[in-house]
Symmetry: C2
Subunit: 251 residues, 2 copies
Amino acid sequence: MIKSILDNSENYQPGLSIDCVIFGFHDNQLKVLLIKVPHNEQWSLPGGFIPINEDIDTAAVTVLNERTGVEGVFLRQFSTFGKIKRNENHFDNELLEYLNINPEQGKWLTRRFVTIGYYALVDFSKIFPNPINPHEIVEWIDHKEVPNLILDHREILDKALDTLRVELNLMPIGYNLLPEKFTIPELQKLYETILDKKLDRRNFLRKITNIGILKKLDEKKSNVAHKAPNLYSFDKEKYDEVLKNGLNQGW
Amino acid sequence: MIKSILDNSENYQPGLSIDCVIFGFHDNQLKVLLIKVPHNEQWSLPGGFIPINEDIDTAAVTVLNERTGVEGVFLRQFSTFGKIKRNENHFDNELLEYLNINPEQGKWLTRRFVTIGYYALVDFSKIFPNPINPHEIVEWIDHKEVPNLILDHREILDKALDTLRVELNLMPIGYNLLPEKFTIPELQKLYETILDKKLDRRNFLRKITNIGILKKLDEKKSNVAHKAPNLYSFDKEKYDEVLKNGLNQGW
DNA sequence: GCTTAATGTGTTATTATGACGCAATGTACT
DNA sequence: AGTACATTGCGTCATAATAACACATTAAGC
């Protein structure tokens, strides 16, 4: 795959890449989709290059879609990373040899790269991690247990999470991360996980329902220990309205 | 100047540029620093290219410093713009000829460019707009009277202002836009101008002083019509603390 | 049936916000 | 000099939002 890019390197934007931080929520954990390449056993964010005839946003959608098989999800550019040395020594001779790339072609890869960071919020249950080649490992990893990542991917991931924390105050987010039907405690866990902070049950309920984006369903969650919680779904129309207008006006 | 870049184009990151939206505040107006190139009488944002051996943030500081002569001001990356056609037909043959660039060299310029947007908040009174070459016009223009801009610079400007509006709710900003000593009504005008919205005098005073970043000086503004307002300055220490921790916690 | 752990629904005190009133100050005009 | 006027400084009050907490309800598991 990287071979085919190098064979047509004039069709890709040079020195520029995209990296996606794909968030999912499962078992009360915030998960991140990571990729392990077989060569050096190192984990990385799913990323890709930018076709010369594609908008960067479109290229990001492509990366996301290739890796998860989902379309039409929440995807947002959050920052661009361009320290000089961020990919210095990344593609060394050993790796180029392993990838069966000759040094001349390899030049396209070994130059200095700037990367545009996108983060995605996806419904964990609808995602099927999809290795592009059979030697690759694609896996959901709890964000608290993310191992060492290549390059500055840890910095990119941290910044994505910071952005998400800020945006939590500006817009609703659950629609993209939860299944269609969910309970208030589940939604609260999502918030608590992202913010890394306990919230009061009762105050959370009041605040979240006051936003006016929830529909209480005439249905309870089944097969649960203890009292069965009510199921809710988002009122998509109102949700989108709030998403557009923002939450806290502040001034 | 652009000639010297092309003569050393291998020393610059290809297909990637920086554009700065430089905000200042004067006469109760939010001003933007714009540049008019003599060739086609069109206005543009001050921008530049990225030396291959400079961090993108450093390159942005350079652009800002070249244009305004200021250092150490508030500068923040806010978005990266990468629509395919954003610079299509920008450097046409006519312009290349005008700039005395041969077509072969011009190829570096005519390719597809992605640009990283930065916005700066500067103290209007400390800025001396600085044309890089004598044919260039550098001017502060009221953001409400910005003329047509080249490329997608209007979109970049709008996005910068949107970002500024949001950040107003997350952090204090006056320190970078006002002179050392200022009055509360001046600060309020700044907020009103950015938000494009009237605020109540008395409520504004209460809210802004509650943040705890203002120092009331034992001095009144002189030479003003009507009652002389008190002068204030920022308590830099507390200001930086709030800047770091954020304003509204939300959740 | 009793315990346990979770959910649903309150209440109350405190704080923040929005909408005002009114006196004080200094300019401009007669 | 006296008065009108615009602007500042300081305060009030009703309402809304928030934090902290109490208690009843539900279902599972022993």
